[in-house]
């Protein structure tokens, strides 16, 4: 179910849904190189826990303050960091869309990520909300900001693939 403000038209809604679909396809299909292109150059991507977010603590689990930092996270994942092979399966729900101005919108929705390890173990790795600011454009919407608020304060083992 999607809740759309009256001043958000159908075309904008389609752009947002397409952006979110590209986002989960980039990550879940292990096409992470396509992930930074879903953001504008001067962007914010941040993962925080509910514990820190609600208490006003600034500490992020991951914080990228530019598209270049997103690219570096992809480099870390592909070439630098050491971890056991794993894949994510994203599920999204409860999208709310509101307009900020003529070209910019804010969105909120739930996400759930199931992590599957190379040995077969599956677990709910993370669940929470995406708090987005995005900008519409001729070639589709892009994220200016995606804040991932993970409900659990805990991370199991390590977090290498963005949520």
């Amino acid at each position: 179910m999607t809740l759309v403000a009256a001043n958000v038209d159908e075309a904008a809604r389609r752009q947002i849904e397409a952006l979110n679909t590209r986002y989960i396809r980039a990550i879940d299909d292990d096409q992470l190189e396509a992930w930074p292109d879903l953001f504008v150059e001067k962007c914010v991507y941040k993962i925080v826990t509910r514990e820190n977010f609600d208490r006003g603590f600034s500490l992020p689990l991951m914080e990228c303050a530019s598209r270049g930092m997103l690219v570096d996270r992809v480099t870390g994942y592909r070439r630098v960091n050491v971890y056991e092979p794993q894949r994510y399966t994203h599920m999204l729900s409860g999208l709310v869309i509101e307009r900020i101005d003529a070209t910019r919108l804010s969105c909120k929705q739930n996400y759930l990520v199931v992590r599957t390890m190379v040995g077969g173990e599956m677990m709910i790795f993370s669940a929470g909300v995406y708090l987005d600011k995005l900008v519409l454009g001729a070639d589709g919407a892009k994220f200016e900001e995606r804040i991932v608020v993970q409900e659990s304060r805990r991370v199991d083992t390590l977090l290498v693939i963005p949520l």
Binding site: I47, T49, E51, N52, R55, F57, S58, L59, P60, L61, M62, E63, C64, A65, S66, R67, G68, M69, V71, D72, T75, G76, R79, V80, N81, V82, Y83, E84, R153, R154, V155, D156, T157, L158, L159, V160
Partner: protein, 413 residues
């Protein structure tokens, strides 16, 4: 004990060996709770700035045992086992909060901020019937108090009546390093909590091991941030129970373009698309850029550039533990420095470029040693076979040998 034979036959090579069985024998795990966690050791509980006012509490752990740390009406910090003296229920369920007293939700047994039992619901029964026996003495049923000491803002607790005070326990070099980190008021900037798929000791070994740092943590070497050839070494405290691994980037040492209050900004061009998150300030006059301190058994202090943290490892059974990170800055940080600490946090924690691997490598060992027989053991002879400080040496396992010697002393192995 019924068996006179020790649980573990330690190899004759001594602390250069650690039998795999200590990582997966339930009897060893149970004995650790008694001899290490309830033994003559101090345990980090929290920072005093987390409980600034009377009634502020925070929960913590000593080994598996749940602990409450609370500031009472007089401003004194008390700690007691987080376990109602009636049926054993947790008194404080939330990780932190503010209370005038602690009332158990189960049957409303109520305690003051020193842990004294002050009232028992229906102590005189109802309408003259039931109730506690007339000779029931509230004073005999308080919470289990533990010794507490606030050293430089780090609150430590112990079950031991015998152990020396914290400063003597740390020894002069380790105490000096705590003073270095806590040189002025700090402020918590957030927490991480990370499940580790391994026995608690595997993480304690990892944090004492400078040998793995530039090998496992490829980010350091790939981007030339930390190499074994850099200046650094290992300091020890309390005969090797505690240690400090330190290093200083040579580019930091050679540069002397100090700006402002002895601080200077270093921006690396290391081949990242955007390395601005590595922008840092030289905060300490000694030039040390990375300093990981281990305080026996389960506490680490951390300085990685401008990221400052305390790490507390809590055993959650034989093959599981939880790592609690408390990250902080200084109260007098300006907005720029605080944001620097936040962006550098990309290096640390469960998603840290240079620390994520530590979350998984213990699990590789835990799974690797399954089925090992009693004679099999880890080998730690890098840097020699003795336990002594190693200034200028980073390819050494001396601090691991210190850990295992302390372990053997306490466990009687």
């Amino acid at each position: 004990m019924r068996n006179e034979k020790p649980l573990i036959d330690w190899p004759k090579e001594g602390p250069t060996r650690a039998p795999y069985r200590v990582m997966n024998d339930p009897a060893v795990y149970a004995l650790e709770q008694e001899r290490i966690f309830r033994g003559p050791t101090w345990h980090y509980l929290c920072l005093d700035v987390e409980i600034p006012e009377p009634g502020d509490y925070r929960t913590s752990f000593i080994g598996e045992t749940p602990i409450i740390v609370v500031r009472d009406e007089s401003g004194q910090i008390n700690a007691m086992v987080n376990r109602c003296a009636h049926k054993g229920a947790l008194l404080c369920i939330e990780p932190c909060g503010k209370r005038k007293q602690f009332a158990c939700v189960y049957h409303a047994w109520t305690y003051d901020l020193k842990g004294n039992l002050t009232s028992v619901a229906f102590q005189r029964g109802l309408a003259g019937a039931g109730g506690m026996p007339a000779d029931f003495d509230l004073r005999q049923h308080g919470l289990e108090r533990i010794r507490v000491e606030n050293f430089c803002g780090m609150v430590f607790g112990t079950f031991s009546k015998e152990v020396e005070d914290v400063e003597a326990y740390l020894g002069p070099d380790m105490a000096a390093h705590v003073r270095r980190i806590f040189n002025r008021p700090v402020e918590v900037i957030g927490y991480y909590h990370q499940m580790l798929p391994n026995n608690w000791k595997l993480y304690m070994e990892n944090s004492r091991d400078p040998y793995h740092a530039t090998i496992l943590h490829a980010f350091y070497a790939t981007f030339k941030l930390n190499r074994l050839s850099m200046l650094g070494g290992v300091a020890l405290g309390h005969n090797g129970w505690h240690n400090l691994l330190y290093s200083a980037a040579s580019r930091d040492i050679q540069k002397d373009n100090y700006e402002g209050k002895g601080l200077r900004s270093v921006i690396e061009d290391v081949g990242l698309a955007d390395s601005s998150f590595l922008t840092r300030l030289q905060e300490f006059d000694d030039g040390i850029t990375v300093a990981i301190q281990s305080i026996y058994p389960t506490c680490n202090t951390q300085q990685i550039y401008n990221t400052l943290a305390i790490r507390q490892t809590v055993p959650l059974g034989l093959e599981k533990s939880e790592l609690h990170w408390t990250c902080f800055g200084y109260k007098d940080d300006d907005a720029e420095l605080r944001q620097m600490r936040n962006l550098q946090a990309n290096l640390i924690g469960p998603a840290g470029y240079v620390s994520m691997e530590d979350g998984s490598v213990g699990g590789y060992v835990q799974r690797g040693i399954a089925g090992a027989d009693a004679s099999e053991a880890a080998v730690m002879e890098m840097g020699g076979r003795d336990i002594k400080p190693a200034p200028g040496v980073r390819a050494t396992e001396t601090a691991l040998r210190g850990f295992w010697q302390a372990y053997r002393d306490l466990m009687g192995f």
